[in-house]
Amino acid sequence: MSEIEHERWREELSAYLLGTLEPGEAESLERHLEGCERCQEELRWLAPARDALPETVARMQPPAELRERLLAEVREDARQAAGEAPERRGVLDRLRDFAGPRWRPLAAGAVVLLIVAAVVGYEIGSNGSGGGGGNLTTEETREASGLIAAVSMEGTENGRIELSNVEPLPPDRVLEAWVERDGEIEAVPMLFVPNGEGEAATTIGDMRGVSVVMVTEEPPGGSEAPTSEPIATVTIG
């Protein structure tokens, strides 16, 4: 790529951000961007200027009926989606598809070739009164894939799982966390996705009776039970 060609595209970045390039030009610029780190960097720097433009618009209150109409539509859509879901199998049955006849923490570890690099139990803070009991505990594992998973909790409350070194997800996949509690597998409500740095986190909340936390890739909207092998498994305690 010649310097002249680079400069030609660099000068078009503003028009590209403003969505005003001629038909066909945007695609050509995107092809140039794929191989030009300097233009990528300039585009990232310039983007906030474009993002600022809608913030200058006089603020108006949308009509209440618009909100009502939208929410009615999405609630109906959600109901239909729930109604069309395939018949639920038992959660433990689904897990057995991936983890053998009886899903246990150690069995799951074998399935995902889990390498427990570290199980860190440490305490921060005092033996506080009330709340979650005061002690902040973290359990951490490193998977064979390089992914690191850490589950932190305050006593038996405020559970949270944080992942790092997560591979980018396909656009039609999300991360879903699961806990084994008193022999039953429960889905964690908060689905999550990794950021650009390969980090992802979600809140588990109540950790009472939880012996294992794991994470799987699932379709958008999550699943009633895991449909893929865990990418992370953390044994608690």
């Binding site: 078009e12 005003t20 809608p54 006089a58 108006m60 908060m190």
Partner: protein, 193 residues
């Protein structure tokens, strides 16, 4: 698997998106309450009439509901992503003849704040203050630069269309656009990046 409203309200936009991808209406409602005003205002700014702005806003949010899982946080904030969807749909509506020609100035103070100030949340107040600062930055741009930026962003005109409308060479349009946007970027507060 729906998160209740209270729980959803505590989540950042980026954390709401997987829930919306999972068809959680409460997470969607929180997103609308946070950004519906900005979306509707932008749509109105572009199409110039209320019914059209409602249609555009509704289409944009339904698009988000159906494609929430496609949000890529590495490419910007949820708000920027959402407003870019609104902008593109409003421009489409404008091109389809659903709206009027765009206004050519940033000074909309006359219709600012249709709600009493006490109804604003703290976050909205901060956004309003920030919007005021950005308007100041834009106000300092040479008129010829803000004009081409407005025609491009709010009017959806191509560079050659702008050149024809203003009777100036295409290269001049490109130069004004480039200089104007770079100046806006340079003047933005640190926290905006």
């Amino acid at each position: 698997m729906a998160a209740d409203r209270q729980k959803a309200e505590r989540l950042a936009d980026e954390e709401l998106m997987p829930l919306i991808g999972g068809k959680d209406p409460e997470a969607f409602a929180v997103l609308f309450d946070r950004h519906g005003g900005a979306a509707y205002s932008l749509a109105y700014r572009i199409v110039g009439e209320r019914d059209g702005a409602e249609d555009v806003t509704q289409e944009a949010f339904i698009s988000v509901w159906r494609s929430g899982a496609r949000f890529d946080r590495a490419r910007g904030s949820v708000r920027s992503w959402l407003l870019s969807i609104v902008r593109n749909r409003a421009i489409d509506a404008l091109r389809a003849g659903a709206g009027r020609a765009p206004k050519l100035n940033f000074d909309d103070e006359a219709i600012l704040e249709q709600r009493p100030a006490e109804e604003q949340t703290e976050e909205e107040a901060i956004r309003h203050e920030t919007a005021g600062e950005i308007r100041d930055v834009l106000g300092e741009l040479p008129g010829e630069q803000s004009q081409v930026i407005e025609l491009a962003y709010f009017g959806g005109f191509s560079q050659s269309e702008i050149a024809g409308m203003l009777g100036i060479p295409l290269g001049t349009v490109k130069g004004r656009m480039r200089l104007g946007l770079r100046k806006i970027r340079s003047e933005l507060a640190e926290g905006w990046a």
